[in-house]
């Protein structure tokens, strides 16, 4: 008796699961889509030291160093943005050696240790580094995280200050956490 009832119930679930699976997938954006939209927007809320900022006729240069998870997503997002009236040019490079002209760099190595190596090479440059890692040396000035099902980020303001970058309060206010600059 109970066995039969359990079975009926189970079949009910099977049918329901099948029905759900067949429903049209109105997908939410993926993490990468939202990150790709974020990255070019960060440029608006950061100011670069004189000399490191793009010149009057130069484009703003956004680089992907290492592995590129975004592909066209980032090109589309960058095309939709301007920084102080300048277009954003996206460059992709395997190593940071070519990163001299970059203003903003999304850095992603093959592994955590690899990411850390890439970041070390960029350390002395006035480049706004963006990473996925939250911890340790694999962490850029802005590092993404997913909290509460949303893409959020942390900001290492101390590291930004060391490179002469200053970050607007609007962006700082949105960060989940800020490692503050030493005053």
């Amino acid at each position: 008796m109970t066995g039969r009832r359990a079975l009926a119930a189970l079949l009910g679930v099977a049918a329901a699961a099948a029905a759900l699976a067949a429903a049209p997938a109105r997908a939410q954006p993926t993490e990468d889509e939202v990150k790709a939209a974020f990255i070019p927007k960060f440029a608006r809320y950061v100011s670069w030291p004189r000399g490191a900022a793009p010149g009057p006729d130069q484009p703003f240069r956004l680089c992907v160093v290492g592995r590129d998870p975004f592909g066209r997503l980032l090109d589309q997002a960058a095309a939709a943005e301007t920084v102080d009236g300048r277009a954003i040019q996206v460059r992709r490079m395997a190593t940071p050696d070519a990163a001299a002209g970059c203003h903003l760099a999304y850095v992603r190595g093959q592994s955590g240790a690899d990411t850390a190596r890439l970041l070390v090479a960029l350390r002395r440059r006035p480049v706004l580094t963006v990473t996925d890692a939250r911890a340790g040396p694999q962490r850029g000035i802005i590092h993404f995280t997913v909290a509460g099902g949303r893409v959020r980020f942390f900001i290492d303001e101390a590291a930004a200050a060391e490179r002469g970058l200053s970050i607007s309060s609007r962006l700082l206010a949105l960060a989940l956490g800020v490692r503050q600059r030493r005053t």
Binding site: T2, G3, R4, A6, L7, A9, L10, L11, G12, V13, A14, A16, A17, A18, L20, A21, A22, A23, P24, A25, R26, A27, Q28, P29, T30, E31, E33, V34, A36, A37, F38, K41, F42, Y45, R72, L73, Q76, A77, A80, S111, G112, A113, R134, A135, G136, P137, R139, V146, A147, G148, G149, R150, V151, R152, F154, L174, L176, G177, V178, R179
Partner: protein, 636 residues
């Protein structure tokens, strides 16, 4: 009975058979990218993202019946305690026994005293007690907002996870301190319960962070059920900290908790209640791209005082684990040592532990290798050798095969052996001349056969189905060994159980997710030839033969969130107790976000009935009650 098995097989075939029929939905279109670019950064930060595939599923546990409850899902639900949060897992059966206590198990054997085949870990710290191999859930009250995720494995996990992982493993992980920077406060109030949790996290050093928290809770007593009125109000507090730091390939974690709870029953003594503390340190180091090593040690102490009974336990544990990935091999090997010293003083009746205080040791060595036979096929072979003070060396092998025919599906099968080593009560409870020590009580043994499917039949749906057949031997019985006294605890029962577990989650709309879950259980046990059981199969527990869960999560305009769950739990047949009928119950939480950092909500549990019975424990069962409360969560 037999036709039920057959049909169940068909049901499984139906479930696992349909993915092929439901392929659709490509990646999000370019329009989405443009739409996203049109949003402000504040708006972007509020866009829910697809998360079903982003759960961190431990690789080692891949070919198992694994259900992951995320911290976000717990926060969205009406649960404010670990046992209530575990109701989100379809492969666990949760019985509320009274205002304080719960009985929780996977794949059967449930009841307060018989749910002794589950291994429960909080951040690597084992919390089952060697007194009766059961978990005192009331001793663990971290704020649920600190939980990152709970991995629930139904089935043996003995090789990797350690002793007592016979029917399942519950692995509770709290958030890295670097993810909980800033302040957080939660306050709830209602007719039956109130709580206040506060946390503050701050960075320290170059790369580290530390958080401290405190949690106060007060739950009113619940109405008596099958048991007598216990007047069992539950109130207490827990506080603690966690620090995460390290540079290079090193990650250090240091954490600790301290807690104290009161028993306010009419017949309670002034000191009655529970208290304890623990401290854990872990160091993991990435050696090179493919290998890592982890060392962990902890100390844990608790004492429980009720009526004229005082139970205390001191645990020291140290473990080391080594991981290496090379070529087709992924090797995990390790060793561990645990020692416990307990004391059980009973002035309430004549049952004694003999000796009253005892130090026990558990040593283990394990190795497991996952071998990629081909890109789609992987074989996992593992063996753990465990030596305990009571039983000498036990071998816990497991063999798993995983076949991944495409990106979206995994089929797996496994055979494993697990044992529940004797508890102090099994071996050393005595009440002469009535009950003599069970000196020859041996481990309860299980050989488990499992198979399952896990995958994404469509872009927006995840589905998992598993079946199991568990063969048990040497389950506890109570026998006459004299003429007729004394009686002794022996291992006279054997038998099998089998069942199906299935769950799915579907993102129906960007703002609407629906999850379904089901678990069934059939049990068939008999006495070994010549054995008798005066306890009439009590050790087998009292289990419903099915439970069904449905949950809906709606998130509107990022302001309004409605999470509601419905569960139908089958009846518990009377074996020795009176038994209880099946029940349907619901819980819900409606939250409104006033600003990005401030949320208010109303929530309720057991909404459909004023009271209902979940446990048939004749001494203790009270009723689960409807509880409605309002709350707020604030971050700053």
């Amino acid at each position: 009975m037999r036709h039920a098995t057959l049909c169940a097989g068909t049901a499984a075939a139906l479930l696992s058979g349909h993915p092929a029929a439901a392929e659709q939905a490509g990646p999000a279109s370019a329009e989405t990218a443009e739409e996203l670019s049109g949003l402000s950064i504040e708006e972007l930060a509020r866009i829910p993202v697809r998360s079903a595939s982003k759960r961190e599923e431990p690789l080692s546990a891949a070919p198992t019946a694994l259900f992951v409850v995320t911290g976000e899902e717990i926060e969205a639900s009406a649960a404010h305690s670990i046992p209530e949060a575990l109701r989100l897992a379809p492969n666990l059966q949760v019985q509320q026994v009274d205002a304080r206590q719960y009985a929780i198990t996977a794949r059967g054997f449930n009841s307060l005293e018989t749910s002794n085949k589950l291994l429960v870990l909080i951040d690597g710290r084992t919390i089952y007690s060697p007194l009766a191999s059961s978990v005192f859930w009331e001793l663990h009250n971290p704020p649920v907002e600190d939980i990152r995720q709970i991995e629930v494995i139904s089935g043996p996990g003995g090789t990797l996870y350690g002793p007592n992982a016979v029917n399942g493993v519950v692995n509770i992980l709290t958030r890295d301190a670097r993810d909980t920077l800033g302040g957080f406060v939660r306050a709830t109030a209602g007719g039956d319960e109130r709580s206040l949790a506060a946390r503050y996290g701050a960075p320290f050093g170059g790369d580290g962070a530390v958080r401290v928290y405190a949690h106060l809770f007060d739950r009113e007593d619940v109405a008596p059920g099958i048991g007598p009125d216990l007047d069992d109000r539950f109130r207490g507090w827990q506080a603690g900290f966690r620090a995460d730091f390290g540079g290079g390939g090193d990650h250090f974690t240091v954490q600790g908790d301290v807690f104290d709870t009161d028993v306010t029953a009419l017949d309670a003594l002034p000191d009655d209640g529970d208290s304890g503390h623990n401290l854990l340190a872990r160091w993991s180091r990435q050696l090179d791209a493919g290998s890592s090593v982890e060392v962990q040690a902890y100390y844990d102490y608790f004492e429980r005082e009720f009526l004229l009974v005082r139970d205390s336990l001191q645990t020291l544990d140290a473990e080391v684990q080594f991981n290496r990935r090379a070529g087709a091999h992924e090797l995990v090997a390790g060793a561990g040592m645990r020692t416990t010293r307990d004391e059980f003083i009973n002035n309430l009746n004549l049952f004694r532990l003999d000796p009253q205080s005892r130090r026990l040791w558990v040593f283990n060595l394990f190795a497991q290798d996952r071998i990629a036979l081909s890109p789609a096929l992987a074989l996992t072979v593992g063996l753990k050798a465990e030596r305990t003070s009571f039983t000498g060396v036990e071998l816990l092998p497991n063999l798993r095969l995983a076949w991944q025919p495409g990106e979206r599906a995994l089929l797996w099968g496994a055979v494993s052996r697990a044992v529940r080593t004797p508890s102090r009560i099994d071996r050393q409870l005595a009440n002469p001349p009535l009950l003599a020590r069970g000196d020859d009580f041996v481990s309860e043994k299980l050989i488990a056969f499992e198979a399952g499917y896990r995958g994404r039949p469509s872009e927006s749906t995840t589905l998992s189905v598993s079946v199991f057949l568990n063969l048990y031997e040497d389950i506890r019985t109570t026998e006459f060994t004299g003429d007729p006294l004394p009686i002794r605890l022996r291992n006279g029962l054997r038998g099998h159980s089998y069942g199906i577990e299935a769950w799915s989650s579907t993102q129906l709309m960007p703002w609407w997710r629906v999850s379904l879950g089901a678990a069934t259980l059939w049990k068939d046990f008999e006495l070994e030839p010549g054995a008798v059981d005066l306890a009439r199969g009590d050790a087998l527990g009292h289990d419903p033969d099915f439970q069904l869960l449905a949950r809906s999560h709606i998130s509107l305009a990022d302001r309004l969130e409605l999470n509601a769950g419905l569960r139908w739990v089958g009846d518990i047949e009377a074996r020795s107790g009176p038994g209880i009928g099946d029940h349907v119950e619901a819980d819900a939480r409606l939250a409104y976000r006033l600003t990005g950092n401030l949320e208010v909500y109303v929530a309720g549990r057991n909404l459909l009935h004023r009271t209902h019975a979940e446990s048939d424990d004749p001494q203790r069962a009270q009723l689960a009650e409807r509880s409605i409360f309002a709350g707020t969560r604030m971050r700053f």
